[in-house]
Symmetry: C2
Subunit: 188 residues, 2 copies
């Protein structure tokens, strides 16, 4: 599998009012090993369909593009139900994409919500399914594109420093929460 | 001096267009040891006079207030020439306040700029002077309120991880830069 993965970006979204339309901020924390190296910021449409495109553009347009070796996502959807096509993102960037979840998601509830009240819900549910089975990896659950489960476990081991969540995602969560509402709160 | 200082917040401001009026974002990175624990966000008036009040309110109103043991500032002014009264901030919070500068500031140039073109410039220059002499501490320069030079050096040693700048300030700088303009850049 070549040299260990050390340059990683983790994305999370900012909290947003449930009934507001519009854009939701997405924050990317770029790490070199356990050192924060930079911060990316973008916006995706709440419950929209542009998350894959926005993430691809945000990463490829950054000064870190040439160094990054993996993309971590805090869940497969940003800004509510703006579902990421992780295989499409993997192809667009040429980088492995790993969705990290602290808990096993309730896929039945997600499918029901998508079909009942989200524009393009059927297509988004297809993206969730196409992302592949939810697998246990270390202390979290993952979906993955462009890397084996073993590589995913190595990536988690290399990026976790405080707790079960990789440092780029933990940091992106704290930044997105703190910037959006004045103070970060809660757990990843 | 009691137990070592481990809970620290470092503030830096976001880049802003030189000729724009209005508010400038200020970001605080809260650390417990070398672990990022939270992010604070506030706004100060560009070239205004509210930085001390905003910092005091932002820290004391946060969930970290009870834990923090020191405040670090990336320079004595935020948002251009919004000079912080570090002794007033120290009194308001009951915490040591340390201004950290990578280079020796050109105080003559600062005085000239304040007096020539900043509202309330004479009063702001008095705040810079009241902050005390610029002293060498480790690999940086400091002004300080509420702690000795030896304590300042210990605080720097305890919070520096990558380079000469304490991790809370390095992180606040990356966040403020990345959130403001879409991508963080440059060095602290």
């Amino acid at each position: 599998m070549g040299r260990p993965i050390s340059h990683v970006v983790g994305f999370d979204d900012a909290p947003f009012p449930r009934h507001r339309r519009g854009d939701v901020r997405v924050v990317g924390a770029v790490f070199a090993g356990t050192r924060l190296d930079g911060v990316l910021s973008a916006r995706v449409r709440k419950d929209g369909a542009n998350a894959t495109r926005v993430l691809a553009r945000t990463v490829s347009g950054s000064r870190f593009a040439g160094h990054l070796q993996a993309v971590l996502l805090q869940g497969i959807a940003l800004g509510g139900f703006n579902v990421v096509d992780i295989h499409g993102l993997h192809r667009a960037l040429g980088l492995p994409v790993l969705v990290v979840m602290r808990r096993l998601p309730d896929l039945q509830a997600i499918e029901a919500a998508l079909r009942a009240r989200v524009p393009g819900g059927a297509r988004k549910w297809a993206l969730v399914q196409a992302a592949g089975p939810v697998e246990r990896a270390g202390r979290v659950y993952v979906q993955r594109a462009g890397l084996t489960l073993a590589a995913a476990e190595r990536l988690l081991a290399a990026t976790c420093l405080h707790g079960a969540v990789p440092e780029p995602l933990r940091t992106a969560h704290l930044i997105a929460g703190g910037i959006g509402t004045g103070e970060s709160r809660g757990r990843v």
